[in-house]
């Protein structure tokens, strides 16, 4: 799930306002965007790349695609995902928020059957500084991202951006940023991202940016015990009242399940360093000798 400069990227919904804006940004950054998709604009060229009716058409015509990223509204997301999965992409980045949960489950079932990895839904995307980015992160902002050896995994795009900024302020850079998304049912979990960073040669330290709700951080703690690289975690939502959905569909505390205390306890027991503010992330990374 670490995006590379050689990956051939297709943009679904390339002709929309956001699709166009971010495709320009991705191309300028060096992401290898090879095609766009819009069923009504097939045959045209947009942002300098050819537009096809489907990801399958695009893959056939250009000899395969590695990654597809969806700028697609919720009601059309399942069909778009099914198209990308059928086209054989390795990685599908689902930016869309508010996709009906039953459609999300169908997406995950289709992806699992085809061996495709979904990142998201409701992710801000993936950044490999100096190489490529896919999604809606400010990769091009040199105060936020620069090449380095800290791997960052985050549910939130905005908070992930802030943490990356404080790392750069402190003199660090990132090996990669993996936005896993704010939905309750994610294709790529914190555990998956930690495993990828543990295996990645360019990563020497890992930052986990989690939030209240669900049990993903607790599950991640189960594998942190076997991670050799230092892990620093910040969990958002300590001050949030229980029983309320805090913006993200996944961010809700029910009883003790999903609570800040449960997550912090599990992560600390596994040996992660859990900090109180975003700025303390970089200080902890420094203390741990990364």
């Amino acid at each position: 799930m670490i995006v590379r400069g050689g990956d051939r990227v297709v943009v679904q919904g390339i002709t929309g306002r956001q699709g166009s804006f971010w495709t320009e940004k991705m191309l300028a950054y060096g992401t290898r965007v090879v095609a766009g998709v819009n069923p009504r604009r097939a045959g045209e060229t947009h942002c300098g790349v050819p537009v096809f009716a489907t990801v399958r058409d695009a893959a056939r015509s250009i000899g395969g695609a590695d990654v597809s990223v969806m700028f697609i509204p919720p009601a059309a997301a399942l069909e778009a995902a099914a198209d990308a999965i059928a086209a054989g992409v390795r990685l599908l980045v689902v930016l869309t928020e508010h996709i009906p949960a039953h459609d999300v489950m169908r997406m995950h079932a289709l992806a699992a059957a085809a061996g495709c990895r979904i990142v998201g839904p409701n992710t801000a995307g993936l950044v490999t500084p100096g190489e490529a980015f896919v999604g809606i992160m400010p990769a091009f902002n040199a105060r936020v991202f620069r090449p380095g050896d800290i791997g960052v995994v985050s549910r939130s795009g905005s908070l992930g951006t802030l943490v990356c900024l404080s790392l750069v302020d402190a003199g660090y850079g990132q090996s990669a940023f993996i936005g896993i998304g704010g939905d309750p049912m994610l294709g790529t979990t914190a555990t998956d991202a930690l495993r990828a960073f543990e295996a990645d040669e360019r990563t020497s330290g890992i930052v986990l940016v989690g939030e209240i709700g669900g049990t993903m951080e607790e599950a991640a703690a189960g594998m942190i015990a076997s991670v050799c690289k230092p892990v620093v975690a910040f969990i958002a939502g300590r001050a949030s009242p229980p029983g309320k959905k805090m913006g993200h569909a996944g961010a809700i505390v029910m009883g003790s399940r999903g609570s800040y205390a449960a997550k912090r306890g599990a992560l600390e027991a596994a040996g992660a360093c859990v900090v109180d503010t975003p700025a303390a992330v970089a200080e902890a990374i420094k203390r741990l000798g990364c």
């Binding site: 956001q18 919720p74 009601a75 930016l95 928020e97 508010h98 996709i99 009906p100 949960a101 039953h102 999300v104 489950m105 169908r106 995950h108 079932a109 289709l110 801000a124 809606i136 992160m137 400010p138 902002n141 105060r143 936020v144 985050s154 549910r155 939130s156 795009g157 905005s158 908070l159 992930g160 951006t161 802030l162 900024l165 404080s166 302020d169 704010g182 309750p184 049912m185 940016v209 939030e211 209240i212 669900g214 049990t215 910040f234 958002a236 939502g237 300590r238 001050a239 949030s240 009242p241 309320k244 805090m246 913006g247 993200h248 569909a249 961010a251 109180d276 503010t277 975003p278 700025a279």
Partner: protein, 363 residues
């Protein structure tokens, strides 16, 4: 969106799951009249909350006078913050055994899950080892014989198959019957129903969209909803305006870390980032707010667009309370320039410093 028991039971009955005869009543006289028709009854508070029995919101009565008294006692009660405005008067059943059945979105397996327990009733969550769990492939659905192979009971398999159909057809997050009564004379009867519909799917559930229980919202939360903004009122005095759920929660966390108390949760990320003007008006409409932190970190949301909205609203409303900005990410240079030129304020370089200043100003 949660449906109240009576609405949920209507959905069950439409799908062929038996429910007791009953009437929905808004006053004690109607409840007494219903009891006269139905005989021995249960009088049940209609609120979208569990543990109604333990809160005193469910009473069993044998005659009309008791029915009237029970309805009088329950109507107007407050249960889990919800005022009871209606009771369900329901004919009592002759129960041999209480079972538990449910179908829900299982977050861990990212798939539907059917649950069954032969010991239903009040304390189902205290007895998790009695649960039979049947995972379902959402692309295939589930057949009755698959269910039967696990529960070994024809009547229960029939109810579970119908319950799965309801779940699939209504975009439910959860549909639960607890208890499902096995009657002395045979057969199963749904004595309660909890049905939660996925808010994100309401656009394709027109038949259900208007049938949800009213959420308990403050006046400001109601206004936020009308504006399409996710606003949650909190007891503190520091107003929060941030983008993205994660950053907004974090802003609240850092406020508490420095000894302050947030007055609200309000995020204008995602598609709402162009609504900064309306959002600021909402935050300032809370009379408890003594200082304001504006914390933007733009990924998808462009900070220049959000800052423009805030600056414009500030110029229009001309509030007198102190405001502290931290602005980073997409569109940062333009956003900082706007704040400097039009508000004559200097955004803080670190979010922590902006929050500390806001906490100090509120004291």
């Amino acid at each position: 969106m949660d449906l109240e028991e009576a609405e949920g039971k209507r959905v069950l009955a439409e799908a062929g799951i038996a429910v007791p005869p009953g009437e929905l009543c808004a006053d004690a006289e109607a409840a007494a009249a219903a009891a006269e028709r139905l005989g021995p009854c249960a009088i049940k508070a209609q609120v979208p909350a569990g543990k109604r029995g333990k809160a005193g919101g469910v009473r069993l009565v044998d005659n009309v006078a008791d029915a009237r008294a029970a309805a009088e006692a329950i109507l107007g009660m407050e249960i889990a913050g919800h005022r009871v405005s209606r009771v369900l008067v329901e004919k009592r059943a002759d129960i041999a055994q209480e079972l538990y059945v449910a179908v829900l979105n299982d977050v861990e397996s990212r798939a539907p899950l059917i649950l069954f327990s032969a010991t239903g009733g009040m304390d189902i969550e205290d007895n998790p080892e009695a649960l039979i769990r049947i995972p379902v492939d959402i692309m295939q659905g589930v057949e009755r014989k698959q269910i039967f192979s696990r529960v070994q009971d024809d009547d229960v398999s029939d109810v579970l198959a119908r319950l799965y159909d309801i779940y699939a057809r209504t975009d439910a997050e959860l549909v639960e019957i607890n208890p499902l009564a096995r009657l002395r004379g045979g057969g199963l009867l749904a004595l309660d129903c909890k049905l939660t519909i996925d808010d994100a799917a309401l656009y394709r559930q027109p038949g259900l969209a208007g049938r949800g229980a009213r959420e308990k919202l403050s006046a400001l939360e109601e206004r936020g909803r009308e504006l399409g903004l996710k606003y949650i009122e909190l007891p503190g005095d520091i107003g929060v305006l941030a983008n993205g759920a994660g950053l907004t929660m974090t802003t609240m966390d850092v406020i508490e870390h420095y000894g302050g108390a947030p007055a609200n949760f309000l995020e204008i990320g995602g598609e709402a980032y162009t609504k900064a003007t309306a959002a600021l008006e909402l935050v300032l409409a809370n009379p408890r707010v003594k200082s304001l932190i504006v914390n933007f970190c733009g990924a998808f949301a462009r900070t220049d667009v959000m800052a423009e909205g805030v600056v414009r609203a500030w110029e229009t409303l001309q509030p007198t309370l102190p405001v502290f900005f931290s602005v980073h990410g997409t569109g940062e240079e333009e956003a900082v320039r706007l704040i400097r030129e039009r508000l004559e304020l200097e955004p803080f370089d670190r979010m922590e410093d902006a929050v500390r200043a806001a906490v100090a100003a509120a004291r």
